[in-house]
Amino acid sequence: MTIKRIGWLLAIISVSSGLAFAELSINAEVVHTEADGNKVIITLTPVPNASSYLIQKSLESGEWVSVIETRDLEFNTNIENDISTRFKVTALDVNRNVLAEAVSEAITTEAKWFNIKRLNRFIALILISGIILYYITRARLNKKIYLRPVAGLQAFEEAVGRATEMGRSVLFVPGIMDLDQVETISGLIILGHVAKMTARYEADLNVPVSRSLVMESGRETVQASYISEGRPDLYSQDMVHYYTDDQFAFAAAVDGVMLREKPAAVFLQGKFYAESLIMAETGNSIGAIQIAGTGSPSQIPFFVTACDYTLIGEEFFAASAYLGSDPKLLGSIKGQDIVKAILMVCIGIGILFETFNVHFFKNLFLGS
């Protein structure tokens, strides 16, 4: 009996003096494979009767801020690079009484130059760029490159010619997005070629845009085309004009232009969203010859339905090479074809391995 009492007494003393707290510990470790470098793994040792663990981290000012309250004994979190950070864990029971506390060693993370997990992308990038550069060099050395005919591209000149014959304008919409979209840039390159045609045929060109930067670069492009065709007198800054950044307000404005000016040729070339069908249907209703082109898979169906010709996906990006016959662009098209062939072979090999339940090849293409 006395021994039992002594046991209880020792237990109470040990708890009150913090000896029982020694079980709890927290370890913070930097995940070195992350490119951002600021990911850390937190591991805890469990405490009996703990229902949750409150994790806090130290700020530069010395304050503690809450990170998470969890039951997990291991989890990831992020900290700011180049700042010494400590983590504190507080074990809580069901009544939220503090059972124990522990503080980790200070750790510091730093941004990495190289993420080994993305090595496959790096190699692919080097290979693809190398192949394309090789074919560009070949094209520059006057090696002849064949390009198969694409119906939509052959219709460009026909559409501008038709507008000229009818005495009506040519409407060109380079999408609704800004210059940070590849489709917009591609649309502006095509605009340059269309502007050359309108300059040659002396047709009116109308380019409504929905972004100020696109307006500026559109003006530069059109002006350069008119100068290169020897008709700077026909160029006017008002050819490229801004309406609004708002998607549907822009669509309403373009519809208004179509209904009032009744252009004979409408080019919808760029990045489009839900307004694509509204514009294409209006162009269709006024009887204009419409040539659309976009890389947005969700909008192609609307253009296919309502336009006379549609440049689908890569055809749209290849358009500038077709229209311009620049060896650099032609070479890049050939290079991309070779890359596609290599990728198809890779897919074939991967399928074979997967069919025989061998996964190493597929894992080479894993993302992170």
Binding site: A124, D178, Y243, D246, A249, A252, P301, V304
Partner: protein, 281 residues
């Protein structure tokens, strides 16, 4: 209450005006189109300035700081801010909290590298001065170059590597349905990819492969089109629900009254137009 009723009348008028485009281009459509374009252009310009330029550019160059604690370069730097405050008080605010004077915007950490963005932005405005307008090309070059570089990795990762990984599927999985699905997917990807070969003439067997590819694409386009049409119809139903709601007594019968007025005006203007045409003929 009155504001709610007025709002309902404006909403009904603008909705019916836009829908009147289904009849033909008319004065109501023109009016609503011009209101829409004008209001949205102003709205976007305001949003861009107060949500982007002021907090994200000026806020990073001059985050809020206690004037008395400023020293060295920052003392001079916040002196410039004070001059700007005198010129444009709303954009560059100063405030006194508990008797302490603070200058700056927001609580983001100071980052003077944003001066580069600021200078490039100012270059764009040089378009207004023809002699130095060429400087704006630097800003455009930066935007295009930056976008191309940033997008390159994204496209490589999702459209190339990710797609290849997702297409490497076993031809036989032990489950007939799943295996057929895999085969359809593989044939669709390979033939679809082949359709986009530009430097090879599509004739003979290659033409058949390319044709199969375009059939797969068309099936996708058809499904996507149907899906989008369903979405558009639900949007239309939403507008009709509003029009029905606003046709009640509590909104002063906004929908039927405005509809009747607009129809009457359109009929009258149509007759007038017809008469004018006849007179011209």
């Amino acid at each position: 209450m009155y504001i709610g009723i007025l709002g309902a009348w404006v909403a009904v008028f603008l909705t019916l005006s836009i829908l009147s485009y289904l009849y033909k281009d008319n004065v109501f459509y023109k009016l609503s189109e011009h209101i829409f374009v004008g209001v949205s252009a102003a709205h976007w310009a305001t949003i861009a300035f107060w949500n982007q330029v002021q907090p994200n550019l000026f806020g990073r160059l001059w985050p809020q700081a206690e004037v008395a604690a400023l020293e060295g370069f920052n003392k001079f730097w916040y002196g410039i801010y004070h001059v700007l405050h005198v010129l444009f008080e709303k954009v560059f605010p100063e405030e006194t909290i508990n008797g302490v004077l603070y200058r700056g915007i927001g609580d983001q950490p100071q980052n003077l590298s944003y001066l580069i963005a600021f200078i490039l932005g100012v270059f764009m405005l040089f378009r207004l001065i023809p002699k130095i307008g060429w400087l704006s090309r630097w800003s455009l070059a930066y935007v295009i170059g930056m976008a191309a570089g940033l997008r390159l990795y994204g496209y490589m990762s999702s459209d190339v590597i990710g797609q290849i990984h997702a297409t490497m599927l076993p031809l036989w999985t032990g489950n007939l349905g799943e295996s057929i699905n895999n085969i359809i997917l593989i044939v669709g990807v390979l033939t679809g990819l082949f359709y986009f070969f530009f430097s090879v003439e599509h004739k003979g067997a290659l033409k058949i492969v390319s044709r199969i590819g375009i059939y797969f694409l068309m099936v996708y386009f058809g499904a996507s089109f149907g899906f989008a049409v369903m979405g558009r119809i639900s949007l239309l139903i939403g507008r009709f629900n509003d029009l029905i709601e606003y046709s009640g007594k509590q909104y002063g019968f906004a929908t039927p009254i405005l509809l009747l007025i607009m129809v009457a005006v359109l009929i009258l203007s149509g007759r007038k137009e017809k008469k004018n045409k006849e007179a011209e003929a």
